[in-house]
Symmetry: C2
Subunit: 432 residues, 2 copies
């Protein structure tokens, strides 16, 4: 064959997609297998429910009717028994009755993790150039998805209570003034123990933000997309209810949850409670993607909920993660407590602590601190990855996302000590 090399002619969507920066970190982890990872967003290995899953699968497959159903095709929207259980589950966490909220199991869609719902909800609302509002910082995988969809990402301040209502209001007001409100499709918030900061949106903010989204829904409805992935991993105090509570007609708020964090990521099952008029568009897209997620996993999870296995597991998990969080905070106090300008969040749940260093200490991948940290034996996520591409803002370069998800509890003090050594070395000027 002597023909000249030809390329495929890719779609605009494919040409917009970029390799996510997290790939660099994953490669670092693979290339340095002895390094302790405080970077990976994986869950704790020791708490994965192997015995529980074995028992539940055994029950399902020993029952001929259950086995035949679980191994057959399911439906695009998901296993009905599971969807009914999930509606009751979220209702129980929130304290409402579905009837009072214009919600039935038909409003529940099961998907391949909550990520698939983030993608599809965005794909059905966002044309290239449309605006999606996130917090500053926010969950970077979703930010990457939005960029691939061609969205114009705008960011809103956050503080210790989460997204700042006044900042959201000011942005929307400015967009209204410039005639751009028609392009605003989604306001996105990771509302519990946020990835990357660990911050939970406070109760007053929840109400305020729901009101702001409604107020600026002038020509069309703006979707308040509440990513509650870490909700059930609340170790300290009670988590507030979801923002669904402020949407009794089920019009504005989509709440997404997942089994990946509180049970097992390997089952790749998430779910959303959606406004009625989003259900069909989402299911039509999902029909084109896969016409339904793994039915076998959904049957396992439905049984885990019905048997109380799920609730017991979440309680066990919270105890295990609380110990890991405590270990991380204690180690940060010990090793960085005396460092002027170093601060960090103290999450009441989830998997993340967000560390801010003195401004001159840059944390980026390939920089002096990152390199020294790997040499000392620890990997972290540079916080700058978590700040969206808002052209009106400049990402701080002195932050770090630390995760205690996958690191064994006994190694957390060692990992934090290694990180502190790297920080001190770079602060002293030991490294180039």
């Amino acid at each position: 064959m002597t023909e000249p090399h030809k390329t495929f002619a890719f779609s605009q969507r494919a040409r917009r997609a970029k390799v996510q920066p997290i790939s660099f970190l994953m490669a670092q982890g693979v290339e340095n297998p002895d390094v302790i990872s405080l970077a990976a967003g994986l869950v704790d290995y020791d708490t994965l429910p192997a015995a529980q899953a074995a028992k539940l699968v055994g029950e399902i497959l020993a029952d001929p009717t259950a086995a035949r159903t679980a191994l057959q095709y399911g439906t695009t929207e998901g296993y009905e028994t599971l969807r009914e259980a999930l509606l009751e589950h979220v209702a129980g966490l929130d304290g409402w009755r579905p009837d009072d909220m214009n919600l039935t199991a038909d409003n529940v869609v099961v998907a391949a993790g909550s990520q698939q719902l983030l993608f599809i909800l965005s794909d059905v609302l966002v044309d290239p150039g449309d605006i999606v509002i996130t917090s500053w910082p926010s969950y970077f995988v979703y930010t990457g998805t939005l960029e691939a969809l061609g969205a114009d990402v705008r960011c809103v301040d956050m503080d210790a209570d989460g997204m700042v209502g006044e900042s959201l209001d000011a942005l929307l007001e400015a967009l209204a003034d410039s005639g751009d409100l028609r392009r605003v499709k989604i306001v996105y918030i990771v509302s519990y123990h946020q990835n990357p900061t660990g911050i939970t949106l406070s109760e007053p903010r929840r109400r305020q933000i729901a009101e702001i989204v409604r107020k600026y829904s002038r020509g069309h409805r703006i979707l308040l997309l509440e990513d509650a992935a870490y909700r059930e991993l609340t170790f300290t105090g009670d988590a507030p209810g979801s923002m669904k509570r402020f949407d009794p007609r089920n019009e504005y708020v989509a709440v997404l949850q997942t089994f990946s964090k509180p049970f097992a990521p390997g089952l790749k099952t998430g779910y959303g409670l959606l406004p009625g008029d989003l259900v069909e568009p989402v299911i039509l897209q999902k029909g084109n993607h896969d016409f339904g997620s793994a039915n076998f996993c959904q049957h396992l999870l439905a049984r885990a909920m019905a048997r109380g296995v799920y609730a017991r597991h979440v309680a066990d998990l919270c105890r295990a993660y609380a110990a890991k969080r405590d270990a991380m905070l204690a180690a940060l106090d010990e090793h960085l407590g005396a460092m002027a300008g170093a601060t960090w969040t103290r999450p009441s749940g989830g998997l993340y602590v967000f560390l801010t260093l003195p401004e001159h200490l840059e944390t980026g991948a390939g920089g002096a601190l990152f390199t020294r940290a790997v040499e000392e034996g620890v990997l972290y996520v540079p916080g700058e990855y978590c700040y969206g591409p808002d052209p009106t803002r400049t990402a701080p370069r002195n932050t770090i996302r630390l995760s205690y998800g996958v690191c064994p509890v006994e190694k957390i003090p060692l990992a934090v000590a290694a990180l502190a050594r790297a920080i001190e070395a770079v602060a002293r000027g030991d490294s180039p």
Copy 2:
């Protein structure tokens, strides 16, 4: 609340999506639970591998290392051990060595059924208005997906040997003449026991079509998308190798296979062997969709392949489906053999027989024959659903897709007899 009702402002993609006609049939099935379905594309319940799956899951979850890996997040491209096994598997079926075909496990992507790969491959190549060529008829779920993507679907004749090369060549020549070749992105073929006709693309046609696709890849490469979903369900004779054989540089042909038909749809796992320069674009999109399909199911399947469980199950399945196909063909011979103008395919595998009735007998949903068939106790898929929206062609209205997938073997004669009664009644003019 007295505010006027506002709607979401949906994306162009969402506005293009339509409810697939198959929804009507599924509703018919639900509303008429006593009707025997020769419509459903489900697999046979009695052959689902419950005992095998129980044993494999038991092994995985009893091994702490395997359990922790299977229940944790996997990777976007899929479990490496499984991808390596799949490459060897297809190589074995085709009779080539990966080294000779420019293929490694990095060219294998695991997904949520082969449907997810159909979607993503199309999404990375097709902008609205781009052309995808399918056969006439073709797999209707994919046709619906293409319409939702805004593709311009063009169809090519098929005969008893599958897609007709001369018809494909003539279409591409006409598109070249009109300057539209630059819009042609994909030629799609269900190459084994096609859905809906049961026809397998013959060996000479495979070579001819691969050559035609290469010949018209002038400014850019056209992807030959080979959907080999039913490949392993070959009961009679030997199946030809995939069209990958005619692409030794791994440039033009993507071959998709699945575990849904030959093992269990509930595990929702399919895979593709992709040209190297399609791998990254596909994985970037999949990263945005779900960053990897259910890892637990992939571990189960990897073990099923390693233990020989998969190969034994496929052999068992082929015996069971062959009996069902034979029952359907015998019943058709008995009940419709004497009807002038009634013909049907005699598949060597897969799940489908395609029936053509005399031209005046219209088979559409809601018509006299369809209604009478439901009254007689049998549901079928009107063949007209399977003809793409090519504006230059008119779909025949006198065809029927019959599936022996889900119907128990002992009910097949009853179902075909019921269908024959309905046909005869309508042919006699008994029905409105």
